[in-house]
Amino acid sequence: MNVDLNELTGRAGEWMKGAGPQSDIVISSRIRLARNIAEFPFIRRCTTPDRAAIDKAVRDRLAEVPQLTDLAYMRVDELSDVDRHFLAERQLISRELVEAEGARSVAIDPNERLSLMINEEDHLRIQVMKSGFDLVAAWEQINEVDDLLESKLTYAFHDKLGYLTACPTNVGTGMRVSVMLHLPALVITQQIEKVFRSLQKINLAVRGLYGEGSQAMGDFYQISNQITLGRSEIELRDQVHDVVPMIIDYERRARDFLLKQNQQDLHDKISRAYGILRTAQTISSEETMHLLSSVRMGVNLGLIDDLLIADINKLFVDTQPAHLQKLRGGPLDTAGRNSERALYLRRYLSQKEKDGADQN
């Protein structure tokens, strides 16, 4: 099946839906498995024909799996630079796949929950993404896809060490479980480091990233497992799964505290952020992310009522550089993107305001 990237442009991918359990705080739940085909060297030592052969082998085998025939295939090396970044902004491919060289592909299901990357750091990276806090469903789906693929491909597997991966940090299960959290109140109340230090003690990695790729993202943090060997997939999943509710609880308590302590200041901060987004004539990606972070919390706390979380998530995605250029239908330099971004925000938010007014 062919995919029209322009068609994806107007749509909200899985993790942007703002649906699923605890989706006010948990943006998305993601699991990925790293796999290699037994009879090829790992990517670093692959020749150009090897890479093409791996790509073809995976595609041919996949075509034989009836459950996976609605996946859309794309040769990433044949896409334009904007299209590659567009896929990365939607988190369907990794930065590494954007920047790698040689034959490489991605297969995506129509609802953007499943993506298979071919010739990334490993021959195959299977990723399942769910909106909200839904690791159990993510694991069920990815395990099923892995079994289906395994019936067609011979993976590199070692009796003691498990699935063999190019980097020893992934060996064993090859599994990385991660949850993306929005924790603005813990940031404002300066409790965030305390939470993270305790997570690091139990071998969970925390990344406070104001940027995924070239975009800035305020107050978003990703928690994932560091260990991949010596524990079963379920144990690894549950380690992340069990700790997230505690962090959600901390964040909710911090929000309550802020509301009680100084609702006026909080409301002011959020309203100003919303005001800038609605009126700016030119705005950077970084500022947009920080302001959207405040507005997102405002929506959750009921301080802003003409927007849904899904709107905010969509704005996060659509205001990124490659998305803006796809929406605009042509290349834009930084200044051009900044004014296009402001224009997009003004239009989107005034439409929402109008919709809200019409309903009342």
Partner: protein
Amino acid sequence: MKCQQCEKPATFHITELTGEQPQEIHLCEGCAQKYLMQTPGTGMPGKASLAGMLAQQLKVADTAKELEKLDEKCCPICGISFYEFRNQGRLGCPHDYVFFASELEPLIVNIHGDLLHKGKHPLTHKRSTESQTKLIQLRREMNEAIRLEQYERASELRDTIRNLEEGEEQAEDDHSV
């Protein structure tokens, strides 16, 4: 804001939480890429942190001379040297886990605290590590023969590979009946 490493604008803002105090780092995309590759504790430790772990481990075990010798050790299947692995942090083929086992095991214990996989196993296609290795080697020889335009040799090798693969399929089928 300018990148802390070069003159380009900083588009990447990373908060490091490994120390006592969170530390904000502002980088351009290129420098961020390099930085992220070497940051430990990210869920995807890069080559520098792996290299650091290895260096520590090797310092304890080996003299400079032994290390030099170890660095020259090359996997007979994919040709990667231990030095290349130390430098790139990525292995060359599945056989490396066997070939460099004595060097890798302490590293793996260091990373995971364990040496024994407890997760799922492939259900249908089980191939011994030995035959995996054999297939990689044959395929490599075949590509080399093609490169040298020795087409007769290449086609012999192709047949050998096919036989080996089909032999296993056959064995599996027999087994499952």
